[in-house]
């Protein structure tokens, strides 16, 4: 293969549409979720192991640093779920054109942002 053939798709120099950013973040959040599973399993394990473990997790949730980590994990999960739902909508045959794709990407991004805000409120305030 000719290694000097021209490369037309240098993503760094192209202005991407919102659909691209939403899709790239869907992948990034998916990879983040893969690692977050370890944290979720550890919380489940500890909270179910004993009364003392359950209390430990409760105390942990009062720690600001731990709250930030939980918020990050739940945000990645919420974002991934919203974007996945958008995919299911497209699988059903809705929102498959350029214009509607952009619209659903914008709607999904707004929904995800609101959810991430609500999760933050749940963790830090409530």
């Amino acid at each position: 293969m000719d290694k000097k053939r021209p490369m037309n798709l240098d993503l760094g120099t192209i202005k991407l549409p919102i659909t691209s950013y939403v899709s790239i973040l869907h992948r990034v959040s998916g990879v983040a979720n893969f690692f977050a599973v370890a944290i979720f399993l550890w919380i489940l394990d500890t909270s179910l192991a004993s009364e003392q473990g359950f209390a430990e997790i409760n105390t942990l949730f009062d720690n600001f640093f731990a709250q930030m980590i939980i918020w990050a994990c739940l945000s990645a999960l919420a974002y991934h779920m919203v974007m996945g739902t958008r995919h299911l909508v497209m699988d059903a045959g809705y929102g498959e054109t350029f214009e509607s794709g952009r619209l659903t990407a914008t709607i999904a991004a707004v929904v995800a942002a609101v959810l991430i805000g609500l999760i933050g409120g749940w963790i830090f305030i409530w």
Binding site: R27, F34, V37, L41, L44, L48, F54, L88
Partner: protein, 122 residues
């Protein structure tokens, strides 16, 4: 380039369907857990243990963990075969990709075993 050998279902259509079925199961589980936690703000250990110790919940949790294993295998395969390529990182790409995929599979298996251990140790 031969990449299908490391995909979960060895077929794009099978992976596509599995990705969606597993996504629905996991979404239901997350919504259930979040709903449960919101409806029980002062949750006690005994109730939490009783919930996860019940057989229907164990089955729901196990289905979610198995879905997670399939979903992450398929998802990470997509990411690895798209970015860990000869074009992007050079001639060692295939070896590097296989290494990453084996690590991913190992972690996925560990997650699954850990979850079964948690659920049946209650």
């Amino acid at each position: 380039m031969v990449t299908s050998i490391t995909s979960l279902g060895r077929s794009g259509l099978s992976d596509w369907l599995l990705q969606r079925v597993s996504a629905c199961i996991m979404t239901l589980y997350v919504l259930f857990i979040v709903g449960y936690l919101m409806l029980n703000p002062g949750l006690q250990f005994a109730d939490w243990q009783a919930l996860h110790g019940s057989l229907p919940m164990r089955m729901f949790s196990l289905m979610t963990v198995l879905s997670l294993a399939a979903h992450s295998w398929i998802g990470m395969w997509c990411v690895f075969t798209d970015y860990v390529t000869v074009r992007l990182i050079g001639p060692k790409a295939t070896a590097v990709r296989i290494f990453f995929q084996l690590m991913m599979i190992a972690v996925t298996l560990l997650y699954t075993i850990w979850a079964i251990d948690i659920l049946w140790g209650i």
